[in-house]
């Protein structure tokens, strides 16, 4: 349903930066609508299109009618109940009545909270909710202002190019909205990686390294990250566990240990206190979904690394802050644990 609203704008000019609200003239629903401000000019999100797409539950007129009637019914029931309690005048009944009311209110509040979902929120409500988060709201304001400026330009070519860029931005925003931060063709993800591992809520770091090249994580960036891992262990910040999934050409079936360069890399980590486990890729042939380069950072995030063909440079690094993704990664980790052998046990089995 599309509603056209008339807005009661304040007649006086507001000081820059002040939050401004106006009430719509809808008969039954009074909604608060914050106004974006750009310079001296006041804008409302409604003013841009003059249209309001309302929440899906409101699209059906019958549903809306029920929605409108509910407060009245609740009020009548409430008043009747209270009058009855007053007539009875019994302390126990009064207590039960007040307790029931309180429980109903808490229940409704919790239900409302559980139903809250950013993606289903109406356009008008969005800034209202965002205003609780000063940092995001500031960016929302800035982006809205720039969108307004973009829309005011008349050049067709400019508009097409701007829309392309905006589409790209929207795609990235959608990813971020899903809890994902994506780094492409860059090693700068390691800055985020270090921040996460230094986070005070992260006590364990479980990592799966899929190794096709014996120099895996032994370039400057990789060595830096390894040193950072060692430092974290020395500082007693976290415990690190790593399962190394090794390509068969680096650890042939008839060899007790992997390729020497790779083994030394594994050994060094063990000496520094990283719990190392190893598995050949061929041992996972029936479960190819386990062959993934990933890191589980406590219960905070999961990082997935996609390497270039050389198995050295990062092609894409996806950081996901989503509990379901963490659970999935943990399931992968547990399965890998079944297939892999502790490096320490290998040393016990076969002497170097």
């Amino acid at each position: 349903m599309t509603l056209t609203l008339r807005l009661s704008y304040p007649s006086a000019r507001l000081p820059p930066g002040s939050a401004c609200f106006c009430f719509t003239e809808l008969d039954n629903i009074a909604r608060i609508c914050p106004l974006a401000q750009h310079g001296d000019q006041m804008y409302s999100p409604l003013a841009v299109s003059g249209k309001l797409s309302y929440r899906q539950g409101m699209e059906n007129p019958q549903q809306m009618s029920r929605f409108e009637r509910k407060p009245a019914i609740a009020t009548v029931v409430g008043i009747t109940g209270t009058v009855l309690v007053a007539v009875v005048g019994n302390t126990a009944v009064t207590t039960v009545w007040l307790g029931t009311l309180l429980c109903v209110v808490i229940g409704l509040l919790l239900r409302r909270r559980s139903l809250f979902d950013g993606s289903s929120m109406g356009l008008l409500e969005t800034p209202f909710y965002l205003s609780h988060d000063a940092e995001i709201f500031e960016r929302y304001q800035q982006m809205s202002q720039q969108l307004l400026r973009i829309s005011q330009r008349s050049s067709k070519v400019y508009r097409e190019l701007a829309l392309q860029v905006l589409d790209d931005m929207t795609r990235r925003c959608v990813e971020m909205g899903q809890g994902r931060i994506v780094f492409s063709e860059t090693e700068t993800w390691r800055i985020a990686y270090e921040r996460i591992l230094r986070d005070p809520t992260v006590f364990t770091y479980r990592s799966v390294a899929v190794v096709h090249n014996p120099k895996y994580w032994q370039d400057a960036a990789g060595t830096g990250s390894m040193q950072f891992n060692f430092q974290l262990i020395d500082d007693q910040v976290i415990t690190i566990e790593r399962i190394v999934v090794i390509a068969d050409h680096l650890w042939p079936k008839d060899q007790e240990f992997p390729d020497d360069e790779l083994r030394q890399w594994i050994h060094e980590q063990s000496v520094h206190g990283i719990w190392m486990k190893l598995v050949r890729i061929s041992d996972l042939k029936n479960e190819p979904e386990l062959v993934r380069d990933l890191g589980i950072y406590g219960q905070l995030a999961v990082g997935t690394q996609q390497l270039a063909d050389d198995n050295l440079r990062t092609q894409r690094f996806i950081l996901t802050f989503d509990l379901n993704e963490i659970r999935n990664a943990e399931r992968i980790w547990e399965k890998l644990g079944v297939y892999s052998t502790a490096y320490k046990d290998l040393l016990d089995q076969f002497r170097l």
Binding site: F203, T204, I233, D234, Q236, I238, T239, H267, S270, V271, H272, G273, I274, W275, G337, A342, Y343, K344, L347, D348, L352
Partner: protein
């Protein structure tokens, strides 16, 4: 002392250790510079003939590496590189605990652990955000006669229930309970990811054979002043495998923490790598000499016996047999005294016997006064509050007349304290 049975704190010194200590004191009065870096590294071979003849009791000292080889034999490990020495055992415990908590998140311990070491391990757990899970087994063993299998079962259950990945237990507790370390580790490794096993061997070294324990554990910590009888306290850490030895050394050498700055450990590790810092703190080296003399004396004593070249483990096993036989005799003679032996199942028993007073008036006495009265009757033992006595049986066969004397001492002490 006619019967010395108080190895809880300090074992009876071996004559060779005493001789070396006296000889070293004589050397210190004559020419302290003889105790040079060369002497510590290579032993008396660094001296001229005249000095060697002058201090003959020190001739068994052939350097730190030789001492480590003696110790490796005594612990039943092949590689002397896995031996670490320190003036203070607690420092070794801290390094071992830190090495353990770099890899483990939850470590299973028991109520039989020595409180001071348990506190160090708990402290390291806190520093690393790890957890200590304690399983209570003392009552099961001392009151319900739990067997080794029962102990393994209850510890394995606790390990699984709490998702543990590390283990810190004594090989022999201060109350003489010999925990089945190797069967427990075997059981845990079959079903779980056991990452690190740290064993307190203070009451086990030279008391029970440790070769099997060493095969199952990552680090074992012990001292020289109890069952070895080297008199001077010196801490020993033995790594169960080469990787753990490297990890232990790495943590010890990280040097950022004051707790690790043990002078003897620094000196021995620097001598090992031939990089001695001459401005190092002056180190008390006598414990190395006494430990070496004791081990050398034990080795030569066993080669002199009919069994010939017995290993360290064999020697300890033979001695344990004698001690256990003595323990059974002691239990028998306690029958008609005011003390009742606390029966511990043979599968977890050691050469330590516990006895509890059956007369309430005897439980009122302070441990010190109990020790004092027994000492007056020729028995040195360990006593605890509540009238609990601990006897560490000697490795010399107790003859019938010895048993008569001990029996008489029990009766006399009972009468004396009961009357009081």
């Amino acid at each position: 002392m006619r019967f010395y049975m108080d190895t809880a704190r300090l074992g009876q010194a071996c004559p060779a250790a005493m001789q070396v200590q006296c000889e070293f004191a004589r050397l210190a009065a004559y020419d302290p510079s003889l105790c040079s870096i060369g002497f510590l590294r290579d032993g008396v071979t660094a001296w001229d003939e005249e000095s060697r003849e002058q201090f003959t009791a020190l001739n068994s000292w052939l350097g730190i590496e030789q001492l480590k080889r003696h110790l490796a034999t005594a612990f039943g490990v092949a590689d002397a590189e896995r031996i670490f020495l320190a003036n203070q055992t607690s420092r070794l415990v801290r390094i071992a605990a830190r090495t353990m908590f770099r890899q483990c998140r939850r470590v299973l311990t028991t109520d039989l652990n020595w409180p001071a070491w348990q506190s160090i391990v708990s402290d390291e757990a806190t520093r690393h955000g790890g957890r200590i899970v304690q399983v209570d087994i003392a009552n099961d063993v001392l009151k319900d006669c739990a067997t080794a299998a029962d102990v393994v079962d209850s510890m394995a259950t606790a390990f699984e229930r709490n998702s543990c990945d590390g283990l810190f237990i004594p090989a022999v507790s201060s109350l003489g309970i010999r925990l089945p370390v190797s069967s427990l580790v075997q059981r845990l490794k079959q079903r779980h990811e056991l990452r690190f096993v740290m064993v307190d061997g203070a009451q086990a070294f030279c008391h029970v054979p440790l070769a099997e324990v060493m095969e199952s554990c990552d680090v074992l910590i012990a001292g020289c002043h109890k069952w070895l009888g080297a008199q001077m306290p010196m801490g020993i850490a033995v790594a169960g495998n080469a990787l753990t030895a490297e990890q232990f050394r790495f943590v010890a050498e990280s040097g950022a923490v004051d707790a690790f700055s043990d002078p003897l450990m620094h000196l021995t590790e620097q001598l090992r790598s031939n990089r001695v810092n001459r401005y190092l703190e002056t180190v008390n080296v006598v414990p190395m000499l006494t430990a070496n003399a004791t081990l050398a004396a034990q080795a030569s004593a066993s080669t002199a016996t009919a069994s010939g070249a017995a290993t360290g483990g064999d020697r300890v096993n033979d001695a344990l047999e004698i001690r256990r036989r003595n323990a059974h005799q002691l239990i028998v003679i306690m029958d008609d005294t005011l003390w009742k032996p606390i029966h511990v199942d043979d599968s977890i028993g050691s050469a330590i016997v516990l006895a509890q007073s059956i007369n309430p008036s005897l439980t009122m006495h302070e441990p010190e006064s109990l020790q004092f009265v027994f000492r007056q009757h020729g028995i040195s033992l360990s006593a605890y509050s509540g009238g609990l006595l601990r006897f560490s049986l000697p490795a010399k066969i107790l003859q019938p007349h010895d048993m008569k004397l001990i029996s008489h001492a029990f009766r006399s002490v009972g009468q004396q304290l009961h009357v009081d």
